[in-house]
C-alpha cells in the first residue's frame, strides 16, 4: 500500500444524503465501520474553516481495473443499495474484469483531527462515548469520521462481468443486507442483462449521496487506575450518605489511520480521476 494513499470506506448504501441532512457526518464517532450512519456521538468540528477543507472534482470516473476477490462488486453493492435487494453471496457473480462508475461531481470534505481534538471533543464531552469505552473495557477501538465523499449530479455505473458460472444472478429479497431504510433514488435505475456477460447500470440525476467516508481510529486507556477509590475503605471516611460516583479519567492511547489489516474489510485500489485511493469494502459475510 502506498504510503500516502488515502483510505476510504464505502457507505453502507448509496442513498444516504450528504450532511447536514444525512446521518453520515464529519465528527461521527463510530463503533463499527459498517454503521457510519449510527454514531454514538457526533463531535463538533474544529471552528476555523481552514481546518475543514473540501475539494471538488468534476466528471469523475471512479473505476477499478480488476477485482480478483470473489466478493461483492461495487455494482452489486450498488444494486443492493438502490433496489433494496440482496445478492446471494453464494453465487459468484462478481468476477468483474472492469468496473466503471462515472459521476458528475464528487465533493470531498475532510479535516485532520489531532489527538487533543479526539480527547477533548470526542471523549471528554460525551458521556455516551465514555460509557461505550467502559462497557467495551477499553479493549475495542472507536472511529471518528474525518472525511466524506459526496456524489452530486448525474451518475452512471457500468460493469463488465465475466461470470464463470452459469451467471445466474440470484436476487433474493432479504432485508438483512442493508441496514437502514431504503429510499429509491429519483429517476430509477435499471438493470441490464442480468443473465449476460455484461452488466450495466445507469441512472440520471439521482439525489446527492455519500459515496464513501474516511475515518481515524483511536483507542483509549484508563489513566491513574483509580487510586482514590482504592483508598476509600482503608483510610476511613466521613459517613455521610450520598457519595458521588467518580468518573475514571481516560485518555487516548493511540490514534491512527485505519489500515487494511482489519479482517472484516478488504481494501481495493481505485482511481478517482487522476488520484489513487484505497476503498474498503466489507468482506462477504456468510449470512447467519
Amino acid at each position: 500500500m502506498a504510503k500516502q494513499t488515502p483510505y476510504y470506506f464505502y457507505a453502507p448504501t448509496w442513498d444516504i444524503p450528504p450532511p447536514p441532512t444525512g446521518p453520515i457526518q464529519l465528527g461521527n464517532v463510530l463503533t463499527s465501520l459498517r454503521t457510519p450512519d449510527q454514531p454514538i456521538y457526533t463531535a463538533t468540528l474544529p471552528n476555523s474553516d481552514s481546518d475543514v477543507f473540501s475539494s471538488e472534482k468534476k466528471n469523475v470516473t471512479f473505476s477499478r481495473e480488476r477485482h480478483r476477490g470473489g466478493n461483492f462488486s461495487i455494482l452489486t453493492r450498488f444494486m443492493a443499495a438502490v433496489l433494496g435487494v440482496g445478492v446471494d453471496v453464494g453465487v459468484e457473480v462478481d468476477r468483474s474484469e472492469n468496473e466503471v462508475l462515472t459521476f458528475d461531481t464528487i465533493t470531498t470534505t475532510q479535516f485532520i483531527p489531532s489527538t487533543v481534538y479526539i480527547q477533548e471533543k470526542c471523549i471528554d464531552t460525551s458521556a455516551a462515548v465514555r460509557r461505550w469505552l467502559e462497557r467495551s473495557r477499553y479493549r475495542k477501538p472507536l472511529y471518528v469520521i474525518t472525511g466524506i465523499k459526496v456524489v452530486m449530479g448525474a451518475k452512471m455505473g457500468k460493469s463488465e462481468t465475466v461470470s464463470k458460472t452459469s451467471g445466474n444472478l440470484g436476487i433474493s429479497v432479504d432485508g438483512t443486507v442493508c441496514s437502514g431504510g431504503v429510499v429509491p433514488i429519483g429517476g430509477g435505475p435499471g438493470i441490464e442483462g442480468t443473465r449476460s456477460r455484461k452488466m450495466g447500470l445507469e441512472w440520471e440525476d439521482g439525489g446527492d449521496f455519500v459515496l464513501a467516508f474516511r475515518v481515524k481510529r483511536f483507542k483509549v486507556g484508563r489513566k491513574n487506575l483509580d487510586v482514590t477509590r482504592e483508598d476509600d475503605y482503608r483510610k476511613g471516611a466521613m459517613l455521610g450518605v450520598g457519595a458521588e460516583e467518580k468518573n475514571a479519567s481516560v485518555s487516548v492511547v493511540e490514534d491512527d489511520e485505519v489500515g487494511i489489516e482489519d479482517l472484516e474489510w478488504e481494501g481495493v485500489e481505485v482511481t478517482e480521476g487522476d488520484d489513487v485511493l484505497v476503498v474498503g469494502m466489507p468482506r462477504a459475510r456468510v449470512q447467519e
Binding site: A128, R229, G242
Partner: protein, 964 residues
C-alpha cells in the same frame, strides 16, 4: 434457631451412601415388581445390581478412604440428582445439608417400608423417577459403570497399589492429649486439700473453680513447651469471694504424680514461698491481682509473685451456668459456641474424669461462665467444686474411681448458683453404674444433647414422653432415640452422643480419647481457622452474652444481645459505686436489649410505593399469567441518591472483579438468559457483542436467529450481565415478546411454559451453559405444561446447571413465584444498594436461604427506540434485575475458583456448594445477622466482605466450602 442447629456436614458421607444404596435398591425392587414393560424391568434389575455393587465397593473401601473423597461425593451427587424435589416438600428445613433429598428419602423410606401400599410408600416410589426419560436411564447406568471402574482403578483390591495419602488431607495433630494434665489435676486437688485445713475462725469454706480447656498448647519447634507445661487457671474462694489464681506445674510433678512425701530438697529457681495454708495467699491477695502458685515435683504448693490479673471478672454479678444459658438464653448459643463448648466439655471429661474435680453427678449447672467487668461473658467455662470439710455425700462410695482420694468430699451444689430448681437432680443410682462404667460420660452425652438442641434434658424427655426421674444411661439412651432425628446424623455431635451412651465402648476404660476426637474434628471442619491448640484462647474472646461475638477491646456501649426473657436472673442491685451503676445499665441492655432500637421503629419512607396500586391484581386470570418482575417504580421515581448508591455498589463490584481478574480467564463461564431478546444495535450491547455466543428465538420457528427485543426487558437484563460478567459468554434465548399476557389466551401461556421448557433444555444440552437466568415467573404451578417445565428444571439441576429465578414483585401479597419456588432453582430477592429489603420483594421464608442482592434503581441498557429520551439508558427496579446481578456474582465466584483453585472449581457448579458460598458472602462478619431476613449478597472491598480480604483467605474459605 434452625438456622444454627442444622449443620450441613456429612456425618459421614459414607454411611449415608451405604444407606442410600440400600434404600434405592429396595425402592427399585418394588418399582420393578409393579412394572409391566420388559425393558423397564431390565433396567430396574440393572439399577439394583449396581446398587449392590456400589455398596460392596464402599464397604470394601470405607476403612481406608476419606469421607470427603471425590468418589463418594460424586456418586452421592448423582443419586441426589436422581431424586425429585418432591421428597423435600414436607421437610423444607433440611435443605441445608449437603444431600437433603437423600436424607429425606432415607428417612421416609425407613418409615414407609413397613406398611406396604401405604400412601407414603407410593409417593416415594414416584420420587425415584428413573424411567420417564430413556436417555436419562442410560446415562445413569453409564455413570454407575464409570464410577465403578474409577473406584477399582483408584483403589484396587490389592492394597499395596493404593495411592499414598498425601499429608495434607490428614488431620495434623500436634501432640497427644496430655495425660499429664489428668495427673496434674489430681495432684492439684490433693495439694489443695492438704493445705485447706487451718486454724482460722470461722473455718473457711473453700470453693474452687477450674477453667476448662484443651490443655494443648502450641509449642515452639514442636517440643513440649517447658514452662509452663501445664497451667490451670482457676478461682479460689473463701467466704464467697473469688480470687483469680493460676497454678503452674513444674515438669516433673505432672508426670510423677503421687511422688514421695519427702520434703523438697531442691529450691525452686524462682523466688517462691512455700504455701502452708491455702488461706494465706488468698487473704493476702490484692484486688485485681492474680495469685500465682506452683506445684513442684513432690506435690507441694509454692506461691510465686502475684501478677496483674488479666481476666477481671465482675464479682458483683453472679456467674451464669450453662444450664441457665440453655434454659433462658438459648439464642446466645450459636453453632460455633456450641461446638466449642462441646469440645471443651469433652476435654473436661478426658482430663478430669476419675478426679475429684469432676463429680459423677456433674451437670450443666456445674459449668459456669463469668461476667467480666466489661460486661461481657466470655466463652470460658469453669467447673466448680467445693473443697468441703466434711464428707456429706454418699455418692462417691458408689463412685468407683476415687479411691485415691477417698477422703475428699464433693459438693456440686453451688451456693452462688442462682437457679434453685436445678433440673439436673444429679444423683446416680448405683444400678446405673452396672450399666455404664463412666457415669460422667453419660452426663456428657446428655449435656451434648442438651447443648445441641439447646433444651434441657428434662424438657426433652417431657417432649418425647419419656418418664425420667434420674439421668441414667437408660433414660438418656431412650431420649436420644427420640431426638436423634433432630440432630443431623452426619454431625459429630450425633456420633459423640452415641458413643457416650454406648456402655460397651467404655468398658475397658481406655477409650476416652475416642470421645473428644470427633468433636474436635467437627469443630475443625466447621471453622477451619480454629486449631485445637488455639481453641481455648479463641473461645475466651467470644462473648456468650451476645451470641459469640468477638469481645471488643474497649467496653462496648451496647452489647447487642437479643433475648428479652423475663426470667433471666436479675443482677444484684447493689450500687457500690457509680461504676457499678453503669454496669448494671449495661447488663440490662444485655438482657433486655432488643428493645426497640429507635432506628428500626421508623418505617422506611417509600411513598411512591405505597401510593401505587398493584397492577398485578387487576384481573383474576392474571394470576395465571407469566410475568416479568420488572419495573416497580416509574423511571422518574428513582432519586439521585438512590442512583448514586447503586453506582457506588456497582463500582465496588467492578473493583473486586478487576482485582481478581487480572487476565482474561481461560475457561469462560457460560450464562443463558431466558427473556425477551436483545437489542443488537444498542451501544452497550455493541460494545461487548463478542460475549454473545448464541441466540435462539423460541417465538418464531422460522426466525430462530432473530432475537430483537420489542420490549426492553431482555436488553436490560442482558446489559446487566454484559456489564457485570464481562468475561462470560452469553446465550440469549428469546422466550417472550413481553407483551402483557392477555387473560383470554390461556393457550399462549401454555405455549410460554412450553417455550421456557424447551429453552432450558436447549441451554443445557446445546449450549452447555453453567448458569440460567430467569427473570420471570408464574404465580401458580396450576398451569398446563408446568410439569414439563419442572422436569426440564430437574434435568438442568442434574446436569449441574445453576438456575436462578426472580422471586416476584408482590411484596407480602404473595410468596415466591414459580419457578423461583422450585427446590432446584436459586431464588433471588431484591434489596436496595444498601441491602434493605425492597418493598416489592416477597417476605423471606423461614429456615431457608433467602438470597438477595441489589434490584432497586438498577441502571442498564434499554432499546433506544423504546426510550422516551433516546438515551438508551434506564433505571429500573424489580427482582427481575436482582436476578442477573446475582447470577453475575455467582459467575464471578465460579470464575474465581477456576482461576485460583482450578482443581476443585467444578464443585462450585453444584447448587449446594454455590448456595453455601453465596451464604458465606452474605455474612460480613461471622455472626452478623441477616438484614430483613435476607441473605444480601454483594461484592465489595470492605474488610468485612469476603472479597475485601486477602486472596489466601478467600481461597481457603472456598476450599473449605467445597470440601465440606
Amino acid at each position: 434457631m434452625a438456622e444454627t442447629t442444622i449443620s450441613d456436614q456429612g456425618i459421614t458421607n459414607i454411611s449415608l451412601l451405604l444407606r442410600t444404596t440400600e434404600t434405592i435398591r429396595e425402592i427399585v425392587h418394588d418399582l420393578r415388581s409393579d412394572e409391566a414393560a420388559r425393558e423397564s424391568r431390565h433396567f430396574y434389575s440393572g439399577v439394583m445390581a449396581h446398587c449392590l455393587i456400589i455398596r460392596d465397593q464402599i464397604n470394601r473401601i470405607k476403612l481406608i478412604t476419606l469421607d470427603d473423597s471425590p468418589l463418594v461425593a460424586s456418586i452421592l451427587a448423582r443419586f441426589e440428582a436422581t431424586i425429585s424435589a418432591h421428597v423435600l416438600e414436607t421437610q423444607p428445613g433440611l435443605s441445608r445439608t449437603a444431600y437433603p433429598r437423600l436424607w429425606a428419602l432415607n428417612k421416609k423410606w425407613q418409615r414407609a417400608r413397613s406398611d406396604s401400599n401405604g400412601p407414603q410408600r407410593e409417593l416415594l416410589l414416584r420420587v425415584v423417577d428413573l424411567t420417564s426419560d430413556p436417555d436419562e436411564s442410560d446415562r445413569l447406568i453409564d455413570f454407575f459403570e464409570r464410577w465403578e471402574n474409577d473406584i477399582i482403578r483408584q483403589l484396587p483390591n490389592d492394597p499395596t497399589s493404593w495411592p499414598r495419602e498425601d499429608g495434607s488431607t490428614q488431620k495434623k495433630r500436634s501432640g497427644q492429649p496430655l495425660y499429664a494434665a489428668w495427673n496434674a489435676s489430681q495432684t492439684l486437688f490433693r495439694a489443695f486439700l492438704e493445705l485447706k485445713d487451718c486454724e482460722c475462725q470461722p473455718t473457711h469454706d473453700f470453693g474452687v473453680r477450674l477453667c476448662l480447656g484443651t490443655f494443648q498448647y502450641l509449642s515452639n519447634s514442636g517440643e513440649e513447651a517447658t514452662d509452663p507445661l501445664c497451667g490451670f487457671e482457676m478461682f479460689l474462694s473463701m467466704k464467697e469471694e473469688w480470687h483469680e489464681a493460676d497454678v503452674h506445674f513444674s515438669k516433673g510433678a505432672a508426670v510423677t504424680f503421687a511422688g514421695s512425701n519427702v520434703p523438697g530438697t531442691r529450691k525452686p529457681k524462682v523466688h517462691a514461698m512455700k504455701v502452708k495454708k491455702l488461706c494465706e495467699p488468698i487473704k493476702k491477695r490484692k484486688p485485681f491481682d492474680r495469685i500465682k502458685l506452683k506445684i513442684d515435683e513432690d506435690g507441694l504448693l509454692w506461691k510465686l509473685r502475684s501478677e496483674k490479673g488479666y481476666f477481671t471478672i465482675d464479682e458483683t454479678k453472679a456467674p451464669v451456668s450453662l444450664q441457665q444459658l440453655i434454659q433462658d438464653q438459648y439464642r446466645s448459643l450459636t453453632d460455633k459456641t456450641k461446638r466449642i463448648l462441646a469440645v471443651l466439655l469433652g476435654y473436661a471429661v478426658l482430663y478430669l474424669h476419675e478426679t475429684p474435680w469432676l463429680p459423677p453427678t456433674w451437670g450443666l449447672s456445674n459449668i459456669l461462665f463469668f461476667h467480666t467487668t466489661s460486661a461481657a461473658i466470655p466463652l470460658k467455662p469453669f467447673i466448680q467444686t467445693q473443697l468441703a470439710q466434711n464428707n456429706t455425700h454418699n455418692c462417691q462410695q458408689s463412685y468407683p474411681m476415687d479411691r485415691d482420694t477417698g477422703t475428699l468430699s464433693l459438693d456440686d451444689l453451688d451456693p452462688d448458683d442462682l437457679d434453685p430448681d436445678d433440673l439436673d437432680p444429679d444423683d446416680i443410682d448405683p444400678d446405673d453404674i452396672m450399666l455404664h462404667q463412666c457415669p460422667q460420660l453419660v452426663t456428657l452425652g446428655i449435656m451434648l444433647m442438651e447443648l445441641y438442641l439447646a433444651t434441657t434434658f428434662d424438657k426433652l424427655a417431657e417432649k418425647f414422653n419419656v418418664p425420667v426421674s434420674e439421668h441414667t444411661s437408660l433414660d438418656a439412651e431412650l431420649v436420644f432415640q427420640h431426638c436423634k432425628s433432630e440432630i443431623p446424623e452426619n454431625s459429630q455431635f450425633y456420633y459423640a452422643v452415641e458413643k457416650c451412651l454406648d456402655s460397651k465402648v467404655w468398658e475397658d476404660d481406655n477409650g476416652v480419647k475416642l470421645d473428644v476426637r470427633p468433636l474436635e474434628d467437627e469443630l475443625i471442619q466447621a471453622f477451619s481457622y480454629i486449631s485445637i491448640e488455639a481453641l481455648g484462647r479463641i473461645a475466651q474472646t467470644l462473648d456468650l452474652g451476645s451470641w459469640g461475638q468477638v469481645i471488643q477491646k474497649q467496653q462496648r456501649s451496647s452489647p447487642p444481645s437479643d433475648h428479652p426473657r423475663e426470667d433471666v436472673p436479675k443482677p444484684p442491685f447493689e450500687f457500690t459505686s457509680p461504676y457499678d451503676l453503669k454496669d448494671v445499665y449495661r447488663q440490662q441492655r444485655q438482657y433486655f436489649p432488643l428493645h426497640p432500637d429507635p432506628l428500626q421503629m421508623i418505617p422506611s419512607p417509600i411513598p411512591h410505593m405505597m401510593a401505587k396500586p398493584y397492577k398485578q391484581y387487576s384481573g383474576p386470570l392474571e394470576y395465571k399469567s407469566m410475568r416479568f418482575f420488572d419495573d416497580e417504580k416509574g423511571s422518574e421515581k428513582h432519586g439521585t441518591d438512590e442512583r448514586n448508591n447503586y453506582y457506588h455498589w456497582r463500582q465496588e463490584f467492578k473493583r473486586v472483579y478487576d482485582n481478581h481478574t487480572t487476565q482474561p480467564p481461560k475457561d469462560r463461564v457460560k450464562i443463558a438468559i431466558l427473556d425477551t431478546g436483545i437489542d443488537h444495535t444498542h451501544p452497550d450491547v455493541d460494545a461487548s457483542i463478542e460475549q454473545v455466543k448464541g441466540v435462539y428465538n423460541w417465538m418464531n420457528e422460522k426466525l430462530v436467529k432473530r432475537i430483537d427485543d420489542y420490549n426492553g426487558h431482555g436488553t436490560f437484563i442482558a446489559g446487566l450481565l454484559l456489564e457485570y460478567s464481562p468475561d462470560a459468554d452469553l446465550y440469549i434465548s428469546k422466550v417472550s415478546d413481553g407483551r402483557p399476557c392477555s387473560p383470554s389466551i390461556i393457550a399462549k401461556i401454555m405455549k410460554e411454559t412450553d417455550i421456557s421448557t424447551k429453552a432450558i433444555d436447549y441451554a443445557v444440552n446445546e449450549w452447555q451453559v453453567d448458569f440460567i437466568s430467569m427473570s420471570f415467573g408464574f404465580p401458580s404451578r396450576e398451569i398446563e405444561g408446568y410439569d414439563e417445565l419442572e422436569s426440564a428444571i430437574q434435568r438442568a439441576y442434574a446436569a449441574n446447571v445453576l438456575l436462578f429465578a426472580a422471586a416476584s414483585n408482590s411484596g407480602a401479597n404473595s410468596d415466591r413465584a414459580f419457578p423461583a419456588r422450585d427446590e432446584n432453582v436459586i431464588c433471588i430477592h431484591s434489596t436496595d444498594a444498601n441491602g434493605n429489603r425492597s418493598s416489592f420483594s416477597p417476605t423471606a421464608l423461614a429456615d431457608t436461604l433467602n438470597l438477595a442482592t441489589v434490584g432497586e434503581d438498577v441502571e442498564s441498557s434499554w432499546p433506544k427506540h423504546l426510550c422516551e429520551d433516546s438515551s438508551g439508558i434506564k433505571h429500573r427496579s424489580g427482582t427481575s434485575y436482582a436476578t442477573p446481578i446475582a447470577v453475575a456474582i455467582a459467575a464471578f465466584l465460579l470464575q474465581y475458583a477456576q482461576i485460583y483453585i482450578p482443581d476443585k472449581a467444578f464443585m462450585l457448579k453444584r447448587q449446594s456448594k454455590m448456595k453455601a458460598m453465596l451464604r458465606i458472602i452474605s455474612k460480613n462478619s461471622l455472626d452478623s445477622r441477616t438484614r430483613d431476613d435476607y441473605h444480601f449478597v454483594a461484592l465489595n472491598g470492605s474488610p468485612d466482605n469476603l472479597f475485601g480480604k486477602g486472596r489466601e483467605h478467600i481461597n481457603n474459605v472456598l476450599r473449605d466450602i467445597i470440601s465440606q
